[in-house]
């Protein structure tokens, strides 16, 4: 054993390696991304790891490996589970031979996601066990427990950390590499009655799964991570309990009065540890359920109370005592407990008298980001047209902000293309554009293009190819020609894919060559049918600036056209209206030089 200061996601990766994982696959997505990156850095040579094109592919790759007896780890963010849901729902019936732990990082808030969905609820739907860690040390332990359970019961198992566990850090004791388990997969054995899903198999498996989960509930009541913590003063009346799990257990522990309550820490929200819950409820008058996202623990306790006719009042989200959405915090949970215990809550920090209004900081495209140039080219070319700009998931969603204002819709990965198609069927006179990033194109954009082409749509697909998966921290994808293992492989050409689908108008252009880019957009958009523009220019984190731009103040007339057109964070207006360039941010993209009406900006150059 040795001690390391680890991020929750790093702890999950090291826990999986310690459990002898053989095959790891996932798609990047905040807050889950660092798990695969850590496996990549810390794995032994015999561990296979890949960035898959999407979560469905990742889960299927691991299903195949697990059929052949391997211990497998699949990672994704909460919404990624929706993409992987199809294989997962069936795999729950089929089961695995080796092991499969699916880490799904939920995101209360949401801080970096489209939804506040709850993988604990998904576990109930898929009928597979789910572990819910409260911190970094828990995550390290639980991923190993999840592997053991998966292998023993031949079922996929969820580990569902939330953002504060994924991105929390703690110094914890971890196993030395020499102590990692070694797993030798036994290989695939042909057995159609086991591996081929048919209705007859499904109905039998369904019954077995329900029976297994019922007995697992009893067994998990004795799982040490599901814990009953007794109140310090048993005479207090009314007798109060708090039921919680995940990071909220840590928040409860930070709250004054927690020692005066009985506490149920639920580490396996599904199957719910009912026997332990009965112990917890015994003699209590009221229970407060402290959890984020869905009221999973609250519903389970209501069910237990109903089944056993217990006169315990269960409070939580359903009763209106806990807010229905959003992230909890130390302060919010402390206030909840104070109210529940009938104590005065800690005084809220006094509002600052006479405080000035603070500037707002929505996330923005980086200085020099090529997406800004791509959006500007389309905006200028379509200035006089009726248009819709369907966006997608990635850095380029930030094109919605002023002054660009170039994202009219955003739904989920890959949806921009097919949404543009749908709008076009209803509004034939609208020029429909779909913006999609390179990684998103591979993840789920291609089927949309096929659908639009086959069904005779009229739209322009704009692929923003910056040669990386930028938003999640620059992971490679099929177009980059590099794998997660660092191997150089043949890159998949986006242009060739589009042409193979049947598109005849496909133009690749450098968006930083502004006038040319505007011309290309005008020309391509006027063609009938489905056509595509690939704006190819590397992310500023991938390229290296050669020289920053600078402003000649004798020629700057203070019109601020650069600021108002581009919204680049490196352009800083001074009090007299003239514009300066923040050299610490400028990467020399030269877009401001090209929009300046007096030629006052020059000198920029990028690789």
């Amino acid at each position: 054993m040795h001690r390391e200061f680890l991020m929750g996601n790093e702890a999950i990766a090291l826990g999986a390696l310690a459990a002898g994982v053989n095959v790891v696959a996932g798609y990047p997505g905040t807050p889950s991304t660092e798990i695969i990156e850590t496996v990549r850095k810390r794995r032994g040579d015999d561990v296979y790891v890949e960035w898959s094109v999407n979560e469905k592919a990742a889960l299927e790759v691991c299903a195949g490996a697990a059929y052949a007896g391997a211990r497998t780890l699949v990672t994704m963010k909460c919404v990624g589970l929706n993409v992987a849901a199809d294989p997962l729902m069936s795999l729950a019936y089929i089961g695995v031979k080796g092991a499969m732990v699916i880490v799904v990082a939920d995101d209360p808030g949401p801080i970096s996601s489209q939804t506040e969905q709850d993988t604990r609820t998904f576990a109930q739907l898929a009928k597979i066990p789910c572990f819910d860690p409260s911190g970094v040390a828990d995550a390290y332990q639980m991923v190993q427990d999840a592997f053991a359970l998966s292998e023993e019961l031949h079922t996929p198992v969820f580990l569902r950390p939330t953002t504060r566990v994924d991105h929390g850090y703690e110094a914890i004791d971890v196993a030395d590499e020499s102590a990692w388990e070694k797993s030798l997969p036994a290989g695939f054995e042909k057995d159609p009655a086991r591996w081929v899903i048919f209705p007859k198999l499904s109905v039998r498996a369904h019954a077995e799964i329900e029976a297994r989960n019922a007995s697992l509930s009893d067994r998990l009541s004795a799982y040490p991570q599901n814990r009953l913590e007794r109140e310090s003063d048993v005479c207090a009346a009314p007798r109060l309990g708090v039921a919680t799990g995940g990071i909220n257990y840590a928040y409860v522990r930070e709250s004054a009065g927690a020692d005066d309550c009985r506490i149920l820490r639920v580490a396996t929200p599904f199957p719910f540890p009912e026997e332990l819950a009965l112990d917890f409820l015994d003699g209590l008058d009221e229970v407060l359920c402290v959890e984020e996202l869905d009221p999973v623990i609250e519903r389970a306790l209501l069910q237990v109370c109903g089944r056993h006719h217990l006169p315990v009042r269960i409070r939580g989200k359903l009763s209106g005592d806990v807010k229905p959405s959003g992230e909890n915090s130390v302060a919010y949970v402390a206030d909840l407990l104070a109210i529940f215990l009938g104590r005065a809550s800690a005084p809220a920090p006094a509002a600052l008298a006479d405080a000035p209004e603070l500037p707002v900081r929505p996330p923005v495209l980086c200085a020099g980001c090529p997406h800004r140039a791509s959006f500007l080219a389309v905006k200028e070319a379509m200035r006089l047209e009726k248009t819709i700009y369907c966006g997608d998931i990635g850095c380029y969603t930030l094109g919605n902000a002023r002054p660009l204002d170039m994202c009219d819709t955003c739904l989920c990965m890959g949806a921009g293309i097919t949404i543009a198609q749908g709008v076009g069927h209803v509004e034939p006179d609208t020029r429909c554009f779909a913006f999609v990033g390179d990684s998103t194109f591979f993840a789920s954009g291609i089927t949309g293009v096929v659908n639009a082409f086959y069904n005779q749509a009229d739209l322009t697909v704009v692929v923003l190819d910056n040669s990386t998966t930028a938003m999640t921290g620059h992971q490679p994808h099929p177009g980059t020609g590099v794998t997660a293992l660092g191997e150089k492989v043949a890159p998949v050409s986006i242009e060739a894919v589009l042409r193979a689908i049947g598109l005849t108008v496909v133009e690749t252009v450098d968006p930083l060559d502004h006038d040319h880019a505007v011309d290309v957009v005008s020309r391509v958009a006027s063609e009938p049918g489905v056509k595509a523009i690939i704006f190819k220019s590397p992310c500023v984190f991938v390229s290296r600036p050669q020289a920053t731009s600078h402003v000649d103040w004798s020629r700057c007339i203070g019109c601020q056209r650069c600021v108002k057109t581009l919204g680049c964070p490196a352009l800083v207006p001074s009090p007299d209206g003239k514009v300066a360039i923040d050299e610490s941010q400028c990467v020399g993209c030269t877009l401001c030089e090209q929009v300046c009406p007096t030629g006052a900006i020059s000198g920029g150059a990028s690789a």
Partner: protein, 190 residues
């Protein structure tokens, strides 16, 4: 020793490295440490906050409002935004140089740095202001704001580490060719 420290700034300013340095200093001193970071979309120029909790007895990686012993701000508007984390009698160390967001130049709320600094002076009695622009001129680099602020925080005596402990942790956290620059930033006093 228990110390709850909150660091705040904007994406890309180097708050994450600063909190890692503090965590390393704590581990070197044999102390428990937990921390939490803002990672994801907010890193694209948004407000970012790091929490560092040193010493036994911290259950959560996040510091509660009104409980931070020390607030280290990389930027004045962020100092004011996160001021509610500071406990009564807590210490604020802030850079005085604003990072003006794009929103303030295209119609969003404006950035009144003088009024913000005046509010900080009125609300935070234990205030240390670091002249970031002058420090950068004298150090010849804009990339060491994090170590500059850690040095100033250390000299308030509220960080709980000596300068040498901090120096050791920095040396273990940055690339060798940046060690000399970071040493000068750590020791810089305006």
């Amino acid at each position: 020793m228990r110390r709850d420290i909150v660091l705040c700034g904007t994406g890309g300013q180097g708050t994450v490295l600063a909190s890692k340095v503090l965590a390393r200093a704590a581990m070197n001193a044999g102390l428990s440490v937990k921390s939490a970071e803002t990672i994801g979309m907010a890193q694209r120029g948004g407000s970012v906050v790091s929490h560092v909790r040193v010493g036994e007895g911290a259950a959560s990686p996040l510091v509660g409002l009104g409980r931070a012993d020390l607030l280290i701000a990389f930027e004045p508007a962020e100092a004011l935004r996160q001021l509610p984390y500071l406990r009564e009698g807590g210490t604020l160390v802030t850079s005085d140089r604003p990072v003006v967001p794009v929103s303030a130049t295209v119609g969003g709320p404006s950035y009144d740095v003088e009024k913000i600094m005046a509010t900080l002076e009125a609300q935070a009695p234990n205030l240390t202001v670091v002249d970031a622009a002058r420090a950068e001129r004298e150090l010849g680099s804009a990339k060491v704001l994090n170590v500059l602020l850690l040095g100033a925080a250390c000299r308030t005596g509220r960080l709980g580490f000596t300068t040498d402990q901090l120096r050791q942790a920095i040396h273990e956290s940055v690339r060798e060719r940046f060690v000399e620059l970071n040493d000068r930033a750590l020791d810089w006093q305006g």
